[in-house]
Subunit: 101 residues, 2 copies
Amino acid sequence: MPGELPHPDRSEIQLTDVLFALSDPERLAIARQLADGPLDMAACHATDPNLPKSTKSHFMKVLREAGVIRNEANGRRRMLTLRRDDLDARFPGLLESVLRA
Amino acid sequence: MPGELPHPDRSEIQLTDVLFALSDPERLAIARQLADGPLDMAACHATDPNLPKSTKSHFMKVLREAGVIRNEANGRRRMLTLRRDDLDARFPGLLESVLRA
DNA sequence: TCTTGGGTTCGAGAATCATCGAACTATCGG
DNA sequence: CCGATAGTTCGATGATTCTCGAACCCAAGA
């Protein structure tokens, strides 16, 4: 498990990538669950609980590469965070309207 | 050219479909151009001007089926409209933040 | 009515994306 | 060390989606 996964810098976040990442119901559900605060990946069961872990990991990858979430190693766990500040700075109001909808 | 193409009712518009439709740069550009008001399809060159018409028509189909735009027959032309009212009612603030970004 | 201009639909091939098992990696507890 | 736990990566298969030519459709002139 590589400690450091690549994350786009705030300035590199593309609107279309964000929209695409959130255009899937499961990924959207993950983002919504993270709206309440950071979460251990193991504790994140926004999706089907008996989902294969490779699939779940892939969801996180899409969200991470789009700049929607941060996925950082924390011991043997993974801490997931919604990149609210970065998204708000780059696309004001977008995240709020998506999460609220 | 069938006069009436199917459009989803306001209540049927799905957030994920809207996000997906706007997650493509060309489709996003079309939506942005329509933000200034309705447009004849022939006058809409938000995209590459020598784009095959079938491709352009396909973009419009995705946007229409998602509920982002309206595509209505008007004589031998096509009138394109951004469904701002419907989108605002269903997902307040979303469209504005996407168009402004 | 015949032709033209503007768009849709169909069909096929290419490209992208999703899903999941299997192998791998890294960390912690014993 | 050893095993178990938590997650990533790889590879393959299947499902969507994109792209575009060709055929078709319809309204409006000539």
